[in-house]
């Protein structure tokens, strides 16, 4: 690549400088669009790479997971949130802090299962799907499936095995977008093998 650039830069003599620009307004909004569009590009690319939607969903979830396991660190580093005591607390943190921090939205937490091990996140508007219109031939695509992966990955890192899935999606014509989360078990950490 350097080879590439050299061709142009080094050979050209006369340069000319522009004044520094002033950072433009509404940065945040725009960069959210960058994210949204990038995600869109990713999804469509996957749709090209895999013929059926299920595989795409899987892939999205997998990528989400990989992001989640790293994202959680960033999250902890930036928010001084400590260990959660119970699942309800976790739910709160996810909705009120995490979503706010990363997607700029605060989903509401609803219909807890009596056992308190299951709840729903309701997203009134999902930044991932601004502008998106699902074509008919992708009816079974779970466009935002990445989120599930992220949540799964992130929580796993804090010793919570959870099951995450979309049960409603505005893209599919539902009124809201609903993510259902179920607590499976707590992952006890133990001494690595070969320790005595």
């Amino acid at each position: 690549m350097s080879r590439q650039a050299n061709r142009g830069t080094e050979s050209k003599k006369m340069y000319w400088y522009l004044p520094f620009p002033l950072p433009s307004a509404s940065l945040r909004l725009m960069s959210s669009e960058l994210f949204t569009l990038t995600y869109g590009a990713l999804v469509t690319q996957l749709c090209k790479d895999y013929e059926n939607d299920e595989d795409v969903n899987k892939q999205l979830d997998k990528m989400g997971y990989n992001i989640g396991v790293r994202l959680i660190e960033d999250f902890l580093a930036r928010s001084n949130v400590g260990r959660c005591h119970d699942f309800r607390e976790t739910a709160d943190v996810i909705a009120k802090v995490a979503f706010k921090m990363y997607l700029g939205i605060t989903p509401s937490i609803t219909n807890w299962s009596p056992a308190g091990d299951e709840f729903s996140l309701i997203l009134e508007n999902n930044p991932l799907v601004d502008f998106v219109e699902l074509p008919d031939n992708h009816s079974s695509l779970i466009y935002s499936n990445l989120l599930c992966g992220v949540l799964r990955g992130a929580l796993e890192m804090v010793q919570m095995a959870v099951d995450v899935k979309f049960v409603q999606d505005t893209l599919k014509g539902d009124g809201v977008t609903e993510i259902r989360m179920r607590f499976i078990k707590r992952i006890e950490d133990n001494l690595p093998a070969g320790e005595e």
């Binding site: 949204t36 869109g40 469509t44 601004d130 502008f131 219109e133």
Partner: protein
Amino acid sequence: MAVCIAVIAKENYPLYIRSIPAEHELKFHYTVHTSLDVVDEKVSAMGKALVDQRELYLGLLYPTEDYKVYGYVTNSKVKFVMVVDSSNTALRDNEIRSMFRKLHNSYTDVMCNPFYNPGDRIHSRAFDNMVTSMMVQVC
């Protein structure tokens, strides 16, 4: 109020064209097609012209006996053409302008739909609805 709304690609072919009544569509194809001459002329003139005339809205392209044809060109050289019944005198220039803005916004969303390939015909419910709203809402 508009009887025909068209979106024309950089390379001057229609990305979207809708008209009422639909049967006259071909006729409007010709109206819009020929209007591009004026668009080109105006845009190139703008190139020459200095900073002043740099608005995206081109204003009235030309009037025919029973229609007025207005134009708008985005920075990405996509053209919007709107044909309005000339009997409809109620329309102020500003209203036309704002209609074009709406059109542009809506088009931008289409552009941002990851499933849309730039350059293809526009098939978008959202866009359709918006256009319809402009066509029907008679003043």
